[in-house]
Symmetry: C2
Subunit: 99 residues, 2 copies
DNA sequence: CGTATACACAACCATATGGTTGTAGGTCAG
DNA sequence: CTGACCTACAACCATATGGTTGTGTATACG
Protein backbone atom coordinates (compact mmCIF):
# COMPACT_ATOMS: atom_id res chain seq x y z
CA UNK A 1 0.00 0.00 0.00
CA UNK A 2 2.71 2.49 0.96
CA UNK A 3 4.68 0.89 -1.80
CA UNK A 4 1.88 1.74 -4.23
CA UNK A 5 2.03 5.34 -3.04
CA UNK A 6 5.82 5.42 -3.27
CA UNK A 7 5.80 6.17 -7.01
CA UNK A 8 5.16 9.73 -8.19
CA UNK A 9 3.26 8.67 -11.30
CA UNK A 10 0.99 6.47 -9.20
CA UNK A 11 0.34 9.22 -6.67
CA UNK A 12 -0.59 11.48 -9.57
CA UNK A 13 -2.97 8.88 -10.97
CA UNK A 14 -4.62 8.59 -7.56
CA UNK A 15 -4.92 12.36 -7.33
CA UNK A 16 -6.49 12.64 -10.76
CA UNK A 17 -8.87 9.74 -10.37
CA UNK A 18 -10.05 10.96 -7.00
CA UNK A 19 -11.19 14.07 -8.82
CA UNK A 20 -13.09 12.08 -11.44
CA UNK A 21 -12.89 8.83 -13.40
CA UNK A 22 -10.61 8.41 -16.39
CA UNK A 23 -10.16 5.60 -18.85
CA UNK A 24 -6.75 3.95 -18.78
CA UNK A 25 -5.79 5.28 -22.20
CA UNK A 26 -6.92 8.79 -21.32
CA UNK A 27 -4.73 8.61 -18.24
CA UNK A 28 -1.87 7.22 -20.30
CA UNK A 29 -1.92 10.22 -22.64
CA UNK A 30 -1.07 12.42 -19.67
CA UNK A 31 2.27 10.78 -18.92
CA UNK A 32 5.53 10.57 -20.86
CA UNK A 33 5.51 6.79 -21.04
CA UNK A 34 3.88 3.99 -22.94
CA UNK A 35 0.29 2.91 -22.46
CA UNK A 36 1.48 -0.41 -21.09
CA UNK A 37 3.55 1.29 -18.40
CA UNK A 38 0.57 3.34 -17.21
CA UNK A 39 -1.61 0.26 -17.36
CA UNK A 40 0.84 -1.52 -15.07
CA UNK A 41 0.75 1.39 -12.63
CA UNK A 42 -3.03 1.21 -12.61
CA UNK A 43 -2.82 -2.52 -11.96
CA UNK A 44 -0.53 -1.91 -8.98
CA UNK A 45 -2.91 0.69 -7.60
CA UNK A 46 -5.84 -1.63 -8.14
CA UNK A 47 -4.12 -4.49 -6.29
CA UNK A 48 -3.43 -2.10 -3.42
CA UNK A 49 -7.09 -1.09 -3.42
CA UNK A 50 -6.27 2.54 -4.09
CA UNK A 51 -8.34 2.66 -7.27
CA UNK A 52 -11.20 0.64 -8.71
CA UNK A 53 -11.93 -0.12 -12.34
CA UNK A 54 -15.35 -0.14 -13.89
CA UNK A 55 -15.99 -1.21 -17.42
CA UNK A 56 -17.91 1.03 -19.79
CA UNK A 57 -18.00 -0.42 -23.25
CA UNK A 58 -14.45 -1.01 -24.34
CA UNK A 59 -13.10 1.49 -21.85
CA UNK A 60 -12.18 0.78 -18.25
CA UNK A 61 -12.85 3.75 -16.05
CA UNK A 62 -10.39 4.18 -13.20
CA UNK A 63 -11.68 5.81 -10.03
CA UNK A 64 -9.72 6.63 -6.88
CA UNK A 65 -10.81 4.91 -3.67
CA UNK A 66 -10.96 7.35 -0.75
CA UNK A 67 -11.46 4.53 1.75
CA UNK A 68 -8.00 3.15 0.97
CA UNK A 69 -6.46 6.56 1.48
CA UNK A 70 -8.19 6.66 4.82
CA UNK A 71 -6.47 3.38 5.64
CA UNK A 72 -3.04 4.82 4.94
CA UNK A 73 -4.01 7.87 6.91
CA UNK A 74 -4.93 5.70 9.88
CA UNK A 75 -1.69 3.75 9.62
CA UNK A 76 0.21 7.01 10.02
CA UNK A 77 -2.01 7.94 12.94
CA UNK A 78 -1.06 4.63 14.55
CA UNK A 79 2.59 5.64 14.30
CA UNK A 80 1.87 9.07 15.69
CA UNK A 81 0.17 7.49 18.64
CA UNK A 82 3.51 6.12 19.78
CA UNK A 83 4.91 9.57 19.47
CA UNK A 84 2.27 11.07 21.73
CA UNK A 85 3.08 8.43 24.36
CA UNK A 86 6.66 9.48 24.17
CA UNK A 87 5.87 13.15 24.58
CA UNK A 88 3.60 12.35 27.51
CA UNK A 89 6.37 10.41 29.17
CA UNK A 90 8.86 13.18 28.58
CA UNK A 91 6.44 15.66 30.05
CA UNK A 92 6.07 13.53 33.11
CA UNK A 93 9.82 13.26 33.36
CA UNK A 94 10.30 16.98 33.18
CA UNK A 95 7.49 17.56 35.65
CA UNK A 96 9.16 15.38 38.27
CA UNK A 97 12.39 17.37 37.99
CA UNK A 98 14.37 14.18 37.64
CA UNK A 99 16.88 15.99 35.47
CA UNK B 1 9.48 9.33 1.81
CA UNK B 2 6.58 7.02 0.99
CA UNK B 3 9.24 4.72 -0.34
CA UNK B 4 10.94 4.76 3.03
CA UNK B 5 7.65 3.84 4.65
CA UNK B 6 7.00 1.12 2.07
CA UNK B 7 9.15 -1.45 3.88
CA UNK B 8 7.71 -3.28 6.90
CA UNK B 9 11.03 -3.41 8.74
CA UNK B 10 11.49 0.32 8.30
CA UNK B 11 7.95 1.08 9.48
CA UNK B 12 8.68 -1.02 12.54
CA UNK B 13 11.90 0.84 13.22
CA UNK B 14 10.01 4.13 12.98
CA UNK B 15 7.37 2.84 15.35
CA UNK B 16 9.91 1.68 17.91
CA UNK B 17 12.08 4.77 17.73
CA UNK B 18 9.10 7.07 18.09
CA UNK B 19 8.54 5.36 21.40
CA UNK B 20 12.11 5.92 22.55
CA UNK B 21 15.65 6.01 21.18
CA UNK B 22 17.61 2.86 20.40
CA UNK B 23 21.17 2.28 19.29
CA UNK B 24 21.53 0.78 15.84
CA UNK B 25 22.86 -2.52 17.18
CA UNK B 26 20.09 -2.76 19.77
CA UNK B 27 17.59 -2.27 16.95
CA UNK B 28 19.42 -4.81 14.83
CA UNK B 29 19.06 -7.51 17.48
CA UNK B 30 15.29 -7.24 17.09
CA UNK B 31 15.22 -8.30 13.45
CA UNK B 32 16.09 -11.55 11.68
CA UNK B 33 18.76 -10.00 9.52
CA UNK B 34 22.33 -8.83 9.73
CA UNK B 35 23.43 -5.68 11.50
CA UNK B 36 24.47 -4.18 8.17
CA UNK B 37 20.98 -4.66 6.73
CA UNK B 38 19.37 -2.84 9.64
CA UNK B 39 22.00 -0.17 9.45
CA UNK B 40 21.07 0.37 5.79
CA UNK B 41 17.40 0.63 6.70
CA UNK B 42 18.25 3.24 9.30
CA UNK B 43 20.28 5.12 6.68
CA UNK B 44 17.29 5.12 4.32
CA UNK B 45 15.03 6.41 7.08
CA UNK B 46 17.56 9.05 8.00
CA UNK B 47 17.84 10.26 4.38
CA UNK B 48 14.03 10.49 4.28
CA UNK B 49 14.09 12.49 7.49
CA UNK B 50 11.95 9.95 9.31
CA UNK B 51 14.55 9.38 12.02
CA UNK B 52 17.51 11.28 13.39
CA UNK B 53 20.75 9.93 14.78
CA UNK B 54 22.54 11.27 17.78
CA UNK B 55 25.89 10.05 18.93
CA UNK B 56 26.41 8.91 22.49
CA UNK B 57 29.87 7.53 22.99
CA UNK B 58 30.35 4.75 20.50
CA UNK B 59 26.63 4.23 20.07
CA UNK B 60 24.39 6.11 17.67
CA UNK B 61 20.94 6.60 19.10
CA UNK B 62 18.15 6.50 16.55
CA UNK B 63 15.06 8.55 17.28
CA UNK B 64 11.88 8.81 15.22
CA UNK B 65 10.99 12.22 13.82
CA UNK B 66 7.30 13.03 14.30
CA UNK B 67 7.54 16.10 12.07
CA UNK B 68 8.32 13.92 9.05
CA UNK B 69 5.34 11.72 9.82
CA UNK B 70 3.25 14.84 9.88
CA UNK B 71 4.53 15.60 6.38
CA UNK B 72 3.37 12.25 5.06
CA UNK B 73 0.11 12.78 6.84
CA UNK B 74 -0.35 16.12 5.12
CA UNK B 75 0.49 14.60 1.73
CA UNK B 76 -2.37 12.15 2.18
CA UNK B 77 -4.61 15.02 3.25
CA UNK B 78 -3.71 16.77 0.00
CA UNK B 79 -4.95 13.73 -1.90
CA UNK B 80 -8.12 13.57 0.15
CA UNK B 81 -8.81 17.18 -0.68
CA UNK B 82 -9.44 16.19 -4.27
CA UNK B 83 -11.84 13.58 -3.01
CA UNK B 84 -13.88 16.12 -1.05
CA UNK B 85 -14.15 18.27 -4.18
CA UNK B 86 -15.49 15.27 -5.99
CA UNK B 87 -18.06 14.54 -3.33
CA UNK B 88 -19.11 18.18 -3.29
CA UNK B 89 -19.60 18.13 -7.02
CA UNK B 90 -21.59 14.90 -6.83
CA UNK B 91 -23.75 16.41 -4.13
CA UNK B 92 -24.42 19.43 -6.29
CA UNK B 93 -25.25 17.14 -9.18
CA UNK B 94 -27.72 15.15 -7.14
CA UNK B 95 -29.24 18.32 -5.70
CA UNK B 96 -30.00 19.71 -9.15
CA UNK B 97 -31.83 16.51 -10.10
CA UNK B 98 -29.90 16.29 -13.32
CA UNK B 99 -30.14 12.53 -13.17
C1' DC C 1 -17.40 -8.29 -42.77
C1' DG C 2 -12.85 -5.58 -41.83
C1' DT C 3 -10.58 -2.03 -39.21
C1' DA C 4 -9.46 0.85 -35.48
C1' DT C 5 -9.62 1.38 -30.51
C1' DA C 6 -9.04 -0.07 -25.55
C1' DC C 7 -7.31 -3.15 -22.70
C1' DA C 8 -4.56 -7.31 -20.78
C1' DC C 9 -0.57 -9.88 -20.64
C1' DA C 10 3.95 -11.91 -21.59
C1' DA C 11 8.82 -11.40 -22.65
C1' DC C 12 12.54 -8.71 -22.13
C1' DC C 13 15.99 -5.16 -20.26
C1' DA C 14 18.32 -1.80 -17.12
C1' DT C 15 18.41 -0.36 -12.79
C1' DA C 16 16.95 -0.22 -7.89
C1' DT C 17 16.26 -2.76 -3.76
C1' DG C 18 17.10 -5.75 0.20
C1' DG C 19 19.96 -8.83 1.66
C1' DT C 20 24.79 -10.85 2.46
C1' DT C 21 29.96 -10.73 3.84
C1' DG C 22 34.21 -8.32 4.52
C1' DT C 23 37.02 -4.40 5.73
C1' DA C 24 38.07 -0.22 8.28
C1' DG C 25 37.48 3.60 11.76
C1' DG C 26 36.21 5.31 16.45
C1' DT C 27 35.37 4.42 21.35
C1' DC C 28 35.44 2.14 25.70
C1' DA C 29 37.56 -1.31 29.23
C1' DG C 30 41.59 -3.61 31.09
C1' DC D 1 48.51 -0.79 23.93
C1' DT D 2 45.23 -4.56 23.12
C1' DG D 3 40.97 -6.31 22.49
C1' DA D 4 36.04 -5.95 22.29
C1' DC D 5 32.28 -3.33 20.59
C1' DC D 6 29.54 -0.07 17.63
C1' DT D 7 29.21 1.89 13.42
C1' DA D 8 30.17 2.98 8.43
C1' DC D 9 30.93 1.58 3.92
C1' DA D 10 32.09 -1.11 -0.22
C1' DA D 11 31.49 -5.20 -3.04
C1' DC D 12 28.58 -8.58 -4.36
C1' DC D 13 24.17 -11.29 -5.37
C1' DA D 14 19.20 -12.40 -6.18
C1' DT D 15 15.13 -10.50 -6.94
C1' DA D 16 11.85 -6.62 -7.59
C1' DT D 17 10.74 -2.59 -10.12
C1' DG D 18 9.70 0.49 -13.93
C1' DG D 19 10.14 0.78 -18.35
C1' DT D 20 9.94 -1.09 -23.29
C1' DT D 21 7.83 -3.82 -27.40
C1' DG D 22 4.92 -7.31 -29.15
C1' DT D 23 0.80 -10.30 -29.19
C1' DG D 24 -3.98 -11.47 -28.20
C1' DT D 25 -8.87 -10.36 -27.21
C1' DA D 26 -13.00 -7.74 -26.77
C1' DT D 27 -15.70 -3.75 -28.27
C1' DA D 28 -17.17 -0.08 -31.41
C1' DC D 29 -17.56 1.81 -36.06
C1' DG D 30 -18.38 1.89 -41.28
Amino acid sequence: MFHALADATRRDIVRRTLDRSFSVSTLARGYPMSFAAVQKHVAVLERAGLVTKQRRGREHLVAGNPAALRTAHDALDQLELAWRDRVTRMDRLLATDDL
